[in-house]
Symmetry: C2
Subunit: 207 residues, 2 copies
DNA sequence: TCGCTGTTGGACTGCATGGTCCATTACTAG
DNA sequence: CTAGTAATGGACCATGCAGTCCAACAGCGA
């Protein structure tokens, strides 16, 4: 597997993308190698040629690919997030990513929920993906704090985490409804909190 | 299956609970009937005796059972939620339910995420479960609005949805970390929003 | 005690699936 | 043109799993 020609790289990529799609709406266990084979018009030997580790390695490749796509879909705003406009643009990009083209779940979130079906390496990668995502959001929060738009006393990491939670939870609730409003409602609430945090408000101590 | 003796009911319940546990940390596909058989010291014929519909029916029974348990764990507070104290007690009960006894995920949330692996009937039941849960929370919000603790102009259903999203998203993020803080951070933020919503200038008008 | 019905045991079947293997074809560098 | 390597095809194997079937056992009412 050390040497790949262009053709090989393209075939490999085709396999990864088809598998990613299938996993997104059938889950890891619901995606058989034969499904992938049929969809990509490849043969069993090709799957094992490009992914000697078998299904586990293929799933890992899918996780990496999905992680890249997810982050890319949030750029360039994710790296900015220094103004409310940037946050708004970031949010629009995310909603578009999730709902356009019929993607109704977060690839990374789904995979995390299926961690039991994934191997240890994939689980480790997912942990990194979350950390990376959270950190980028937290950096944005800190930029807002530095600019005086968000209470400097707030914990940026926790705030970022709650925004991610709103996204993931909102998506989960959107699925059975087959509607976008649950995610939007969750994001609206997170939004309100972000905006409400300037120094005038004291966070409640509970429970 | 029309007639069940006490003994039969107990066996059936044993099967349901063991399956529920297994599904919670291995997923539907990661739970084989042989696993269940071994864990419950039953035989194949018993599984199909009590659940003629096979695995699908068993999963359905698990969903119903988990739904009951989840709602029960939130009582009596869930039916109250008319004061901040009641909300706090409700939250404590939930966290206890999720984190004590090593349960690190929401059974209903997990099943929803695995809908692709579930049959249509189970999916329908899950939709109902979410509606029921959301409605109870929304009722609580309305009680708080009536009591003048929350802005009467807020949409109770959407607010309830965002609280549910915080729970589910927080749980998802808690899993890879194997820590409780993500859920707590998400709930804290939802909390802040609830508290921040009262009209700051207009006093509540309520008989 | 008898007989009916619910309960239990476990062998067996058919099928889907991950994975192996070997042969063949297509490229590409020299 | 040729040799070597990557790419591909697809038969084949072993296993695990849902589901079937029949036989045996237990409890309870008559």
């Amino acid at each position: 597997m050390a040497e790949l020609t262009d053709k090989g790289r393209r075939t490999r990529q085709r396999i990864v993308e088809a598998t990613a799609l299938r996993i997104l709406d059938a889950g890891i266990d619901g995606t058989s190698l034969d499904d992938v084979r049929a969809e990509t018009l490849t043969s069993k030997s090709q799957l094992f040629h490009y992914f000697p580790g078998g299904k586990a390695e293929l799933v890992r490749a899918v996780a990496v690919w999905e992680g890249e796509q997810l982050l890319a879909a949030q750029e360039p705003h994710l790296s900015d997030l220094s103004t409310w406009e940037s946050w708004a643009a970031w949010r629009r990009g995310l909603e578009e990513y999730y709902f356009d083209r019929g993607r109704w779940a977060c690839p990374i979130g789904s995979l995390t929920a299926q961690m039991a079906a994934a191997d240890a390496e994939t689980a480790a990668f997912l942990r990194e993906a979350w950390t990376s995502w959270r950190t980028r959001l937290a950096d944005g929060v800190r930029r807002m704090q530095a600019a005086g738009h968000i209470d400097p006393g707030a914990d940026a990491e926790r705030l970022a985490t709650s925004v991610l939670a709103a996204i993931q939870g909102g998506l989960l609730l959107s699925q059975p409804e087959r509607a976008t409003w649950p995610l939007e409602a969750a994001l609206d609430t997170a939004w309100t909190t972000l905006h409400a945090l300037p120094p005038t408000t004291t966070p409640p101590a509970e429970p």
